[in-house]
């Protein structure tokens, strides 16, 4: 996939917001002094009158957005995942999710692919924190096309949405004609031996792993789950019934993340042998993203090895 164009999903986020400025007069974008990193500066450039910087005060930003939504606006609040889902969890819980207000949380720099900034800035808990909230929709796009589609879907949904976005550039795997729907997974590659369910940055890595697995005589099915909540249980269960083995992959703790969500569905409805690839009860480290992905097993070769083991 080295020939593929690579774009960070945070870039897609900023670009999609800027594009939406004209068609959505009620759209408001807020940031917490990270607009050059979350890329909301792109929106600020084209629509400064509807861009508000909250400064380094994320709790207030989330609640201000709740008030904006209560008064009919569509606010997107933006910061790193650590400082939205993490720092402002209780504001999101009590002032956004509980009253079901139309607030969108654009959380960039999720996962360990943040890299050099280290574990304090690598949020590997956000999927778990956000998907347990009633009324919350959780989206974790895998590439530029999907991230842009998520922004559009969030704009058109009346209710809270958490958007998990990354810092690192990821291959563009979808075509311009890709149709994203909240609650629907995407069957990227059919296979009969094992089901790989991936989200975010891991999706393209798992597609490459599936190619490697072919050489090992393993025919893997690859499913992209962008809509973590609501989850496309039907797609996952049908695939698990066909292959009999499931492997999940995410740059998140295996507890409570996509792996946790898939485990809940399988154990309740179709007990299936499950392997969860992710961070295993530990924090990240400070190093270039590539080095961290290598160290923690988020490479095509490492995924291939884990899937092979699962198929043994």
């Amino acid at each position: 996939m080295s020939e593929m164009k690579k774009i960070p999903t945070r870039d897609s986020y900023g670009a999609a917001l800027a594009e939406a400025a004209k068609d959505y007069p009620n759209l408001i974008v807020m940031d917490a002094d990270l607009s050059c990193a979350t890329k909301t500066e792109e929106f600020a450039k084209v629509c400064p009158e509807r861009f508000f910087n909250a400064g380094i005060a994320e709790a207030n930003m989330v609640c201000v957005a709740a008030g904006l939504a209560a008064a009919g606006m569509i606010p997107f609040v933006s910061s790193f995942a650590m400082f939205t889902a993490g720092r402002a969890f209780e504001q999101i819980r009590n002032s956004v999710a509980y009253p079901k207000l139309n607030v969108k949380i654009g959380a960039t720099h999720a996962g360990i692919s943040v890299g050099e900034d280290g574990a304090s800035h690598q949020c590997i808990e956000d999927i778990a924190l956000m998907r347990v909230l009633p009324n919350m929709t959780v989206l974790s796009p895998s590439d530029d096309i999907e991230a842009r589609a998520c922004v559009k879907a969030a704009l058109d949904l009346d209710g809270p949405v958490y958007l998990r976005l990354g810092r690192a550039a990821v291959p563009v795997i979808n075509g311009a004609d890709y149709h994203f729907e909240i609650g629907k997974g995407q069957l990227l590659k059919e296979g009969k031996d094992v089901t790989i369910v991936a989200t975010g940055l891991l999706v393209s890595i798992c597609l490459e792993a599936a190619e490697l697995l072919k050489n090992e005589g393993i025919d893997a099915e690859v499913i992209n789950i962008c809509s973590i909540k609501p989850l496309d249980e039907e797609l996952i269960l049908a695939s698990a019934a066909k292959t009999g083995r499931v492997v999940t992959a995410e740059e998140h703790l295996i507890a409570g993340g996509l792996g946790g969500a898939v485990a809940e569905v399988l154990s309740a409805k179709l007990p299936t042998k499950l392997t969860r690839i992710g961070m295993e009860d530990r924090f990240g480290e400070s190093a270039p993203a590539e080095a961290l992905l290598e160290k923690f097993g988020f490479t095509p070769a490492a995924v291939c090895a884990r899937v092979k083991e699962a198929c043994r």
Binding site: I28, E49, R50, F52, A54, G55, A57, A59, N60, V62, C63, V64, A65, A66, G67, L68, A69, A70, A71, G72, M73, P75, E90, Q91, N94, S95, Y98, P99, K100
Partner: protein, 276 residues
Amino acid sequence: MNNQELRHYANEIRKSAVTAVYTAHSGHPGGSLSCVDILTYLYFEEMHIDPKNPADPDRDRFVLSKGHVTPALYGTMAHRGYFPLEELKTFRQLGTRLHGHPSMRYLPGLDMSTGSLGQGMATAVGMALAGKVQKKDYRVYTVIGDGESQEGEIWEAAMFAAAKKLDNLTVILDYNGLQIDGTIAEVNDPQPFDKKFEAFGFHVVVADGHDFDSLRAAFEEARKTKGQPTVILAKTVKGKGVSFMENQAGWHGKSPNEEQYRQAMEELERAGEANE
């Protein structure tokens, strides 16, 4: 509405608030009674609202940031005509619209769900910001607690409101000096409020939170203040109107027994008669 009429409603609302807590065997009487006069003035005199059209996009907004004093808020809303007085009996009971802390998805007329201290004021700031973006004339009011001001988010919200020049926002601080564990000075002194809010960019007005002339002057000053938000430091008495509850931290979140309830209602009846 003249002061005698306002005093009449305030006294009726105090009776409703005490009755609601007594009936539910739970709730927060002390801080309810301290802000009843403020809520009465807001709902019966200050705010442009219509109980028959609670979702009017041009209405003034109110956020009870100290969300635990629902006995005062529901009492005020019921007497203002948002829902029947009879419904106050359902306070905190299964199936009620009158939750322990305000829940906007249940009761039309509630502009925000609150209860977690510090957050309500920030949501009011958001509503005021929306008013500016939408170029609407509505005003936004929020009542915060003095103990609540120990929350950092109050000051994040204050900084933001002043920086964005939200002169359509009026914050009323219910300055009764008490919180659950004692006086605000003993627990973790958030004072002085005047200098802090001034330093954060607010126009500061001091008022007697139980005197309608004083409240009237304060809200008029807030409306005239341009280019910055206003905070009204409303000096109040926790438990105001019920002698044995006044200035007692112990009545923050406790319901009266039958004997205490009878005495409270007698005192309030007498206060009502004295006003007529």
